[in-house]
């Protein structure tokens, strides 16, 4: 089955620096990817998504890069702020990518922002 993993369990960056969180996936047929942020004691919060027909997508201070060749995606956060401290998960639909699909989540990277 699909497995989704993250390269680092913890990433510590200085406030104001850029951060990059990585994710690898196993199923080359996966065509849709989502990043979620989970703050302590809260549910996952949608950040940004990307389809496989794109290799880059930008949001507000966030950019997701997709490399289908090596089955890798990354989340870049520009000018990190204290509020960015959270666990970040990548997720892929379990099946066809339709509305009823459950999501397979990666293990999560804990981003720590140092003052």
């Amino acid at each position: 089955g699909e497995s989704v993993g993250l390269h680092l369990p913890t990433l510590s960056v200085q406030e104001g620096d850029n951060s990059i969180i990585n994710c690898a996936y196993s199923n080359s047929a996966s065509d849709y990817f989502i990043w979620y942020k989970q703050e302590s004691g809260k549910g996952p919060q949608f950040i940004i998504d990307i389809r496989s027909n794109m290799d880059k997508r930008q949001g507000q201070r966030v950019t997701v890069l997709l490399n289908k060749t090596v089955k890798h995606l990354s989340l870049q956060i520009a000018a990190t702020q204290p509020g960015d401290s959270a666990v970040y998960f990548c997720a892929v639909p379990m099946y066809s990518g339709g509305g009823a699909d459950g999501l397979t989540f990666g293990k999560g990277t804990h981003l720590i922002i140092q003052p």
Partner: protein
């Protein structure tokens, strides 16, 4: 901004007891989900629900689990006979069901503690 709500925030129960976790999805969403997260681990899909029936379920969602949408606003997860290993955060989620999108919005979670 509309959001998914869940009650209770924390449920403590004795092993073997039945529990019902409650959720109010976002009002115009069509797809409803339950996920769980064991402490320190990744978020795991349990079940999706659409058009008043289960769409997909994972291996975790065995006969001890059931879901129901008893009225137009609530969505519940019942665990018939709780086990110690059912202790986890349970997240309800809902999604608009946009074509080709698996974006879902999570509630704050219910922390279930089985003693």
């Amino acid at each position: 901004e509309p959001e998914v709500t869940q009650t209770p925030s924390h449920q403590v129960t004795q092993m073997g007891q039945e529990v019902i976790l409650r959720c109010v999805p976002i009002s115009n969403h069509l797809y409803f989900y339950w996920y769980r997260q064991i402490l320190g681990q990744k978020v795991e899909f349990l079940v999706s629900f659409y058009n008043n029936e289960i769409s997909e379920k994972s291996e975790i969602f065995d006969d001890q689990f059931s879901v129901e949408r008893p009225d137009g606003s609530n969505f519940t997860l019942k665990i018939r006979s709780t086990k110690l290993e059912d202790s986890a955060m349970y997240f309800c989620a809902s999604g608009p069901g946009l074509a080709g999108s698996s974006i879902v919005f999570f509630g704050p979670g219910t922390r279930l503690t089985v003693l």
